[in-house]
């Protein structure tokens, strides 16, 4: 990615959460690489992607953390919440169980994420209408209840994917000052990145 060498104004860390197999990784790969495959692999632990976008005249680098969804992993997933400026909470419209988990995920965010973190709710697999178990209205209602934006997406058909990431990035950006002095704050999310990122110990 040569584009990454261009200067950027802000770096934002986003975290993707949601039950297992709702399509978090597929959404991310669609967004970051513009690819889709039905043979994606279970995410174990965590995966990372970078996407640089132009947002309202600013160059924003998104660092996106893609987590494992299985409930048992929450003990370790929690440790990734801190420092995230935006959280993309995903459920599967063809699996009501994953929608029912949204409240529990929201509680996790409350408990473990930074207080002002921005959130967005996503109902994925919208291309699979015949298997739908959660209506768009229900999704919207729940999102309204938490005061967050809502999208139904299809990673497969590339519907609304860019929109949801752009939205969460814009919200986070609005909250984070972009002047040079505060720029580092965004980066710091990566936990302690030094400005030059050259620890003096190199040989």
């Amino acid at each position: 990615m040569t584009s990454s060498s261009r200067p950027f104004d802000l770096q934002i860390k986003l975290l993707m959460i949601g039950d297992s197999a709702v399509g978090k990784t597929s959404l991310l790969l669609r967004y970051a690489n513009d690819t889709f495959s039905s043979t994606f692999i279970t995410t174990i632990g965590i995966d990372f992607k970078i996407k640089t976008i132009d947002l309202d005249g600013k160059r924003v680098k998104l660092q996106i953390w893609d987590t494992a969804g299985q409930e048992q992993f929450r003990t370790i997933t929690r440790s990734y919440f801190r420092g995230a400026q935006g959280i993309v909470l995903v459920y599967d419209i063809t699996d009501r169980g994953t929608f029912n988990s949204v409240r529990s995920w929201m509680a996790q965010i409350n408990d473990h994420a930074d207080a002002q973190v921005n959130r967005v709710l996503i109902g994925n697999k919208a291309d699979f209408e015949t298997a739908r178990q959660v209506s768009t209205e229900e999704g919207q209602r729940l999102a309204d209840e938490y005061g967050v934006k809502f999208f139904e997406t299809s990673a497969k058909n590339d519907v609304n994917v860019t929109e949801c990431f752009t939205t969460i990035a814009r919200e986070a950006k609005a909250r984070i000052p972009t002047d040079p002095n505060n720029n580092r704050q965004g980066q710091r999310l990566n936990s302690g990145r030094a400005s030059g990122s050259k620890p003096g110990c190199c040989k």
């Binding site: 950027f8 197999a21 174990i44 632990g45 965590i46 190199c202």
Partner: protein, 483 residues
Amino acid sequence: MSSEPAGKRALLWQGGNPSKRRKSSSRKVRWTRWSEEDSKLVAAALGAAGSVEHPDLEDQIAKDVKRTFRVRVDAALLTKFLIASALAEPDRGYVQGMNYVAGIVILVFSEDGLDDEAAAYATFSTLLRRFDGYYAPGFPVLLRDVDVLGSLLRKHKRDLCARLEACGATPMTYAPRFLMSLGSAVFDANVTARIWEPVLETPDAGSAIMVWVMMAVLCLSEPLVRRAAGDPVDTFVKVQDAILDAARGVATFDTIADAAPVSVKLVKAALDARNARRSRSGTPREPDERTPPKKMLGSLSSFPRTVRLGRQLLGLTPRSGVRKNNNANLDDDDENQPVITIEIDDEPPPPENVEEPPVHHPPRSGVKNNTNLDDDDDDDENQPVITIEIDEEPPPPENVEEPPLHHPPRSGVKNNTNLDDDDDENQPVITIEIDEEPPPPENVEEPPLHHSPPTTPGPPHDDTRDEDDKEKNSETQEPLFFF
């Protein structure tokens, strides 16, 4: 392929009888031999998997079975194994990562027709048992290992550690995927299977082996990490990619062994020390704290067959080349102390030697030990050596010194990209290869860069290996890179 007289083993050591190799080269056979599962338990578990309804469990497993590897794995069997093991350990249940583990086991056992489902399940189950705490609620052992990995890095790979942490790449960000899949989510299947051999053979050393492997991968990634670290922008993600790329580029187990900055033994000692510290909350570790290692020995000795390999492994250390970088750090460790104890205990077991050959590794350990042990006390140096001899009994003193040679051939192997073949199956048996072609001594000294091993064409062993190769080839044709 049970016992072989010591005499034959010596022959193997010295380069004799290649036909022996075939005997021990079937991974399936070896795995089966090391499985500890009681056949009744296995039958019960497999039976339960088919007879009872478990909708939630089945639902989760069904989702993952579809996305376990991109190569064909018998879905029905994978499902059955996962359900069976989840039911057998209700408190643990099914945890993602186990699907990869079962997948590899099934692949290995399916190589030429799955003839023994129970044996395959027993192997899978034994592997999980080796890593109980990786999947138990809260992942206690996983968290401990991640933590100890961090300390070891800080101590033995200071510069690399500083680079990683400077960009936020803490062990918690890259290690879980390696550890919870026991390597299978990142390494080529052949490499993974090879890593599991010592794990299966050595009760109690699973964590040590995985952490050791992780450290080796980090060392392999170092050049890429350095490059990434020069980029002030995407450092974090580039570093993560560098680590994955390094793992995916591992062609053989030797690559890992060559790259490891410390010995498995040292890692094991660090893990034991951490446990001891925890259980005695806050009590600083003192030289007299030798209890933990002893305890480990106790368990090792209850598995006589595995004792030898255990010793080898615990003595497994890096090449001198690699070491150079670390010399600085080596001096200190308190961690070695426990090790001492371990070896002392080992001595007694010799009797079993008579049974089998697995022991080919020892030579290496011998070599390595000499190199490393500089770390500290004299004890260390001597001990490892002692161990070696015990195992090998037969080999005359000189053997101890030659071992270094063995490496070269292997490194050659690495060059061949497919390689896995050679080693995976043979490594345990490594001796054989060694024997056949006396590797040039010079190689011994270069090892440091795993990536650029001496270009040694495929081992001359072809003859013997034909059979194995066929199997391997079939594997190779369907590349097992999962990403």
